[in-house]
């Protein structure tokens, strides 16, 4: 009995390793669905809505890839992952791509053997405190109890920040954002730290968001973006250029509403190349000519996705800031479609 379990585990490990080596693009096409890793629930970025349908900023990237590759934005199997399970899930081939506000770091890219295909949100780590605590700067948090998600870069940044400022803290390790929210609201920790966007999203779900403040310090650079496994560049290109298509679409003024008329009526050659009415960009990717058009028409361009999921009109109320197009002074910039 024990032996057979052991053998079974070895076999599974062997098979999974074998499967991961094959071409992901072909796998996804053959399977007919895209397995996309997302958070276990962070409103605005990835969370199921009242109908159980996944919605959010990261979810839209998954859906755009599914639309580009499979022609169906709903053909996505969302796999909720925690900060700890996400990399194993991706490395083992359980998911084809990870869009889970994951920070692009050197060691994740190089040592863990992943390929970050771009940045869809420039973030930084912040602190949220109850206003009643009377703290106006993170440097006043000496001796505070801090809730922090384990297995994240946040945890390491937190240790660095307190060490650099020569102040102490008690960490309360938590597994999911929901758990952190519960601990924070119960007063089991004085402050909750994670990416500023995540804090804003979490605060938006509170009963009294006004009683909580984000401290001005942003203690880290957190470029968040989708990632795929190392060594499958064809698949990496598909995800990378789907993201770039959404960004370029905003830059060129292509929206989900006007994408069809732009495809036929536009005189801008880059719009034509993007939407497949000119050139063979889709073919080079191993897709058909309409790939980008489908992604844009189903999800909208980058700006539209931002506005409907986390933008200022939504409860999360994030401004574009660093995430504005480069033409508007932000950092969002796509290489040209040529």
């Amino acid at each position: 009995m024990k032996k057979s379990v052991f053998l079974g585990a070895l076999t599974v490990a062997g098979l999974a390793a074998g499967a991961a080596a094959a071409g992901t693009l072909d796998d996804v096409k053959a399977r007919g669905t895209l397995n996309c890793g997302v958070t276990t629930g962070l409103v605005g970025f990835a969370a199921p809505d009242a109908n159980g349908e996944w919605k959010g900023f990261d979810v839209s990237v998954c859906r755009a890839v599914a639309a580009a590759v499979l022609g169906d934005a709903t053909a996505v199997e969302f796999v909720p992952t925690t900060g700890k399970t996400r990399f194993t899930a991706l490395a083992s081939g359980e998911i084809d791509m990870l869009a889970r506000n994951t920070t692009w770091t050197f060691s994740r890219d190089v040592d863990l053997k992943f390929t970050f295909v771009g940045v869809n949100y420039y973030d930084g780590q912040g602190f949220m405190v109850p206003k009643a605590l009377g703290v106006s700067s993170a440097k006043e948090l000496d001796g505070a109890t801090v809730c922090v998600q384990t297995g994240t870069t946040t945890e390491l940044n937190l240790a660095d920040f307190f060490r650099a400022n020569n102040i102490s803290y008690d960490p309360v390790p938590i597994e999911t954002n929901a758990e952190g929210q519960q601990q924070y609201l119960a007063g089991a920790c004085d402050t909750y730290t994670t990416d500023a966007s995540g804090l804003a999203a979490t605060r938006a779900t509170f009963e009294n968001p006004g009683e909580h403040a984000l401290l001005p310090e942003i203690i880290s650079k957190e470029p968040l973006g989708p990632l795929v496994r190392h060594g499958d560049d064809e698949w990496g290109d598909v995800v990378r250029w789907t993201l770039n298509a959404l960004i370029t679409a905003e830059e060129l003024g292509v929206t989900s509403a006007n994408v069809n008329e732009m495809a036929s009526g536009s005189t801008n050659p880059e719009v034509k190349r993007l939407l497949g009415t000119e050139g063979t960009l889709g073919e080079m990717l191993g897709l058909d000519a309409d790939w980008a058009m489908r992604a844009i028409s189903s999800q909208g361009n980058y700006g539209e996705i931002f506005a409907t999921t986390i933008g200022e009109e939504t409860p999360i109320a994030l401004s574009r800031g660093l995430n504005a197009q480069w033409t508007n002074g932000g950092l969002i910039y796509s290489p040209p479609f040529r």
């Binding site: 991961a20 945890e155 309360v172």
Partner: protein, 404 residues
């Protein structure tokens, strides 16, 4: 010239491996073993080849790198610049701490509940039956989370202790019950305090020596010495005297509210308490059943004979029934202790940083060395479980029925 004839020997022919019943089963076992070895070798090779193909090499070099994360509940000195192996050690000690505490408390709960369940008092026995059935039939993870959630939700946060109109206050100005944990006064060892400790340890040995003396006196002469109050005197009086002679070297560091938290004293974190308590009451319910089975395995004639000799019910239980019941109780108790140790890995649910939380959690995640970390974890739990098993087996051998 003499001819020597060998005695007729059954010559061994190869076909006998198949047709001779003496050898046949060995043949098949050898074939089965060979197949198993080949299969394992193939699968191991497959695993290693695939790992190599994915560029995953097994290396433990990361253990020496700085960990970079902090741990709040720890028994030894640790900060985020120390190595991953140090963090793992903190986790190991935390695992052992909670396993030890939970084993102790589960045994106490279990023995009390098991004995009381056999009580002739209807209410008491039904209450204990209720405890056993409720606690052992709900998964321990649920208990851990329930207790932790109740602790964080019901107990006051530290800032409730603050200000003139504080809604909470410390118990005897020494103990603070908050939703972050319980703060207790910590002893401060001044100069000369070691003498007091040494005297106390000597007193403990003194108590045992006195009790042994009383017992041999009773067996050899029949003279019964009191043991209750003299034990207490031997235990406490010399220590207290020495404490004052040395000029009260042992002080108390009481926790006080400073800044955001209580400072000073000993902090027993909420996760530790939740885990400890949940493991204790859950496993205690199983131990109660073991104890009940052990007691019921002792023949009723023993109780009646002891009663006929004039022993009081309490003494019958302590002197006649429990010693005999132990030999039935101990073996299943070993596996309950192993269960506690292994179940302590559920610590991750409440953020208690045991070995699964440090090495198998944060270190694994920050370094991405999943296979290495999990192998180490398996090795650790295996070592601990086998050690507990070995120690308990020694104890079992000492209490089991001596056949002469």
């Amino acid at each position: 010239m003499t001819t020597m004839t060998d005695p007729p020997q059954g010559s061994f022919r190869l076909s006998m491996l198949l047709y001779d019943t003496r050898y046949r089963s060995m043949t098949f076992q050898a074939i089965a073993l060979l197949t198993l070895i080949v299969a394992i070798a193939y699968l191991t090779n497959n695993l290693l080849v695939n790992l190599a193909a994915q560029g995953l090499n097994i290396s433990y070099g990361f253990l020496a790198d700085p960990a970079g994360y902090d741990i709040d509940q720890r028994l030894i000195e640790y900060d985020n610049q120390m190595s991953h192996s140090r963090a793992a050690l903190v986790g190991v000690l935390n695992t052992l701490l909670v396993a030890f505490l939970a084993c102790m408390m589960a045994t106490i709960f279990g023995v009390i509940a098991g004995v009381l369940r056999l009580s002739k008092n209807w209410l008491v026995s039904k209450l204990m039956a209720f405890y056993v059935e409720i606690f052992r039939n709900i998964p321990v993870l649920i208990w851990i989370i329930i207790i932790y959630t109740i602790m964080t939700a019901v107990l006051p946060p530290p800032n409730a202790f603050r200000g003139d109109n504080a809604t909470s206050s410390m118990l005897m100005d020494m103990f603070a019950f908050t939703n972050r944990g319980i703060y207790l006064p910590a002893p401060v060892w001044g100069p000369g305090s070691m003498v007091v400790v040494a005297v106390f340890i000597a007193s403990v040995f003194g108590v045992f020596a006195y009790r042994r003396y009383a017992k041999t006196l009773l067996y050899s002469t029949g003279q019964l010495l009191p043991t209750g109050w003299p034990s207490l005197v031997i235990l406490l009086v010399p220590t207290i005297l020495m404490y004052f002679i040395m000029g009260r070297p042992v002080g108390l560091d009481t926790p006080a509210l400073q800044g955001f938290n209580f400072r000073g004293g000993i902090k027993v974190g909420a996760p530790l308490i939740a885990l400890w308590f949940a493991l204790s009451i859950y496993t205690g319910a199983f131990i109660a059943e073991n104890v009940r089975a052990g007691i019921q395995a002792v023949s009723k004639g023993q109780t009646e004979a002891a009663g006929a000799l004039g022993l009081r019910p309490g003494r019958i239980m302590n002197l006649v029934v429990l010693p005999q019941a132990l030999r039935v109780i101990i073996p299943p108790l070993i596996s309950q202790y192993l269960n506690i140790t292994k179940n302590s890995s559920l610590a991750i649910a409440v953020g208690y940083m045991d070995i699964t939380g440090t090495l198998g959690g944060i270190t694994l995640n920050q370094t991405g060395r999943a296979i290495e970390c999990v192998l180490l974890l398996m090795l650790f739990y295996l070592t601990i479980s086998l050690s507990i098993s070995a120690i308990m087996n020694v104890y079992n051998n000492s209490v089991k029925l001596k056949e002469r």
